[in-house]
């Protein structure tokens, strides 16, 4: 999640801007984690719920699912960076503001 590449800033009292950025990063990590849990649950967990333990197959699937999700996260991040995104898509909603 080092996609945002914040530059280090040193010492002193509470800098609201720095705290704000850390909180945004924290929110993002939580958001990504929740989506990851949900996606891998849909991909790997049998919806019959005949027992409460993860089967061997489910466990292996989860491990691979997390790996692939991280790879996808990286690819999408690189793609967005290469496009200088943060500019297009999102802002267009505010074109009329």
């Amino acid at each position: 999640m080092s996609f945002l590449g914040r530059s280090g800033a040193p010492s002193g009292s509470v800098n609201p801007e720095r705290v704000e950025m850390a909180m945004q990063e924290l929110d993002m990590v939580t958001d990504v984690f929740n989506r990851l849990v949900s996606s891998c649950h849909a991909k790997c967990i049998s919806p019959r719920y005949a027992e409460g333990d993860l089967s061997k197959g489910e466990s292996v699937c989860i491990d691979r699912c997390v790996s692939k999700f991280f790879e996808v996260n990286k690819k999408v991040g690189e793609k967005l960076q290469s496009m200088g995104a943060g500019q297009s898509g999102t802002q267009s909603a505010f074109g009329s503001l």
């Binding site: 945004q24 999408v76 995104a85 267009s92 909603a93």
Partner: protein, 90 residues
């Protein structure tokens, strides 16, 4: 949205708020994109590495989603402007 009813101090405050919101919206769009393209493109978990076919799918999915959002955004802005004008005309 019409900010003309606001004074300068309020408009400056809103600009900061909007800027911060855009950052948050961008981050949400990013993780939404990852989730969406992962779900659409990755269905084989016999391996932990992304296949070249899956990778191509993810790239196309990302590309297409951004173009889609941009187009929707453009139409949205037009419709919003129309709605604004017809309201203002009353």
């Amino acid at each position: 949205m019409d900010f003309s009813q606001m004074n300068a101090a309020e408009q400056a405050h809103m600009s900061k708020v909007i800027e911060k919101k855009q950052m948050q919206d961008f981050l949400r769009m990013y993780s939404n994109l990852v989730e969406r393209c992962f779900n659409a493109c990755c269905n084989d978990f016999t391996s932990k590495a992304l296949s070249s076919k899956e990778e191509q799918c993810v790239m196309n999915c990302t590309d297409k989603f951004l173009k889609h959002s941009e187009r929707v955004g453009a139409r949205f802005a037009e419709q919003n402007a129309d709605a604004m004008n017809s309201t203002a005309g009353k």
